[in-house]
Symmetry: C2
Subunit: 236 residues, 2 copies
C-alpha cells in the first residue's frame, strides 16, 4: 500500500503538485479510475479515485473517509535540538513512526543549537508518516524559548533530566492511560537551575526513563515509545 498526503481538500477533490503527479502517473503508472489510499494527516484515511491522470497536475476525488481509531491520547514532546542536526532528524523520523502528536523544539540556557530548519524536519516527518502508513502527521513547532513555553503548558506534564539523587517515579508509572501528556527532555548540557525551578513552579513532575544515561535524542524516543506502549490497544 502506498499512501498519499492530501492536507488541503476542497469539495472533496485535490490536485497533486508536479512532483507527486509525475510519480503517480509516470512511475506508478496509475490510470484514470484507479483507486488510491490517502490521508489528510489529521487521522482520516481517504479512499480516492484518480479522476484526471495528468502527469503535471493529477486530480483525485475522495470516495470514502474513515476516521482512524485508536488515538485516545496524544503526546507533546518538548526537547532542545541536539548540536548534531542528524540526531534531531532521526528522532523526528522514529517518533513519527512510533506515534507522536507534536514536537516543540526548545531554546534552553544550555542549548548549543539556536537555529533549526523546520521545513526539513517537516519533510522527514511526512516521509516517515507515509512509510509507516500512519494517518497522523506530527506538528513541528518553531524553535521556542524555554521560559515562554513552560508557562503555557496545560494538562499532565513531566520533566526528565539527569538527577541521580532524586530521579522520581518511572515515566510509565506516572502516565495515566488514555490521557494526553507533555514531556520535557533535558538538553545535552542539561537544564539550568533557573529552568528547573521554573518547570517546578509551573507544575512539571520529575520522572525517569530508567537507570541508563541516555543521549538527548534517545531519551526523546524512549519517552515517545513509553507513551505509545501505555496507550496501545491490548492484544490477546
Amino acid at each position: 500500500m502506498q499512501l498519499f498526503y492530501l492536507p488541503d481538500l476542497q469539495n472533496d477533490t485535490a490536485t497533486l503538485d508536479a512532483v507527486e503527479s509525475k510519480h503517480l502517473v509516470r512511475v506508478l503508472r496509475k490510470k484514470q479510475g484507479d483507486l488510491l489510499d490517502a490521508t489528510d494527516g489529521r487521522g482520516q484515511h481517504l479512499t480516492c479515485e484518480l479522476i484526471d491522470a495528468n502527469p503535471k497536475k493529477a486530480v483525485l476525488q475522495v470516495l470514502e473517509r474513515k476516521e482512524v481509531s485508536g488515538r485516545k491520547a496524544s503526546l507533546t514532546l518538548a526537547i532542545a535540538p541536539t548540536k548534531n542536526m542528524d540526531r534531531l532528524e532521526w528522532l523526528v523520523e522514529k517518533a513519527t513512526e512510533i506515534g507522536m502528536e507534536r514536537i516543540v523544539p526548545l531554546l534552553c540556557d544550555h542549548s548549543e543549537r539556536k537555529v533549526i530548519k523546520e521545513e526539513r524536519l517537516e519533510r522527514i516527518a511526512l516521509s516517515a508518516m507515509k512509510q509507516s502508513l500512519r494517518m497522523h502527521l506530527p506538528e513541528i513547532l518553531p524553535l521556542t524559548p524555554f521560559s515562554d513555553w513552560v508557562q503555557q503548558v496545560e494538562g499532565p506534564k513531566f520533566i526528565c533530566h539527569l538527577n541521580e539523587e532524586n530521579p522520581g517515579p518511572a515515566f510509565q508509572r506516572a502516565l495515566v492511560s488514555g490521557q494526553s501528556a507533555t514531556v520535557l527532555i533535558g538538553p545535552e548540557g542539561d537544564f539550568s537551575p533557573a529552568e528547573l525551578a521554573l518547570a517546578e513552579q509551573n507544575g512539571f513532575t520529575q520522572v525517569t526513563l530508567g537507570n541508563a544515561r541516555l543521549r538527548t535524542e534517545t531519551a526523546g524516543l524512549a519517552a515517545v515509545h513509553i507513551f505509545a506502549l501505555n496507550n496501545s490497544t491490548p492484544h490477546a
Copy 2:
C-alpha cells in the same frame, strides 16, 4: 565521569594503546596517582590508579572491582542488516545505550545487504557504552545465515514480522520479567515463507510490537526498549 574500557586485564594491570594513552595524558592531563573509572565491558566497574603516565603506553592498576547489579536477564536481538548501513549503525548505538546483550546480524532470503563491517559496529557500540556509562559491551556476532542460526537458539524466543491477520500477543505481555530472551526481527522485505515455517518449527512465538508498521531498525530498537522496560528496577 569518563569511562575507560579495559577488556584484557592481566594481573590487575592494563596498558592502554597509543591513542588512549595520548588522550589520557595529553588531553585529559592525568598524572601518576590519579584515579580513573573503567569497565571490562562484562559488568564490572573498575576503579583504577594511573601508575605510569606514559603518553604512548599508559599503565593502569585496578584498585577495586564492583559487579554492576541490575542485569538479571539479557536480550539477544537477531535482525537482518538494513540496506542502508547508517540505519544499522544507529540501531547498534541506541540499543547499546538502552541495553542489549548481543546482536546477531542475519542473512535472510530477502536480505539486500550481504556484507557488514563488524569492526565498525564494534567501535560504535564501544563509544555508546562509554557515553552512556554502561558496564556491558554488547557482543556483535558475524553475519550468520538464518537457517543455521534459527535451529540453535535456546530459551524463550520470539519472532516479530508483518502479519496483519494474526499479529500474536504484544511482546511486552509475552515476556517474563527476569528471564533472558531472543527476539527475531524481519528484514525490509520480510521473511520468506520457508523462513517463517522454520522459525515456527524451532519454537519461535509470534509477537507484535504494536499496530504501527515500523522500519526494521525501529522495530529492533522498540524490541530492545520493551525488554529493558520489562526488566527495569521499579522506582517508587
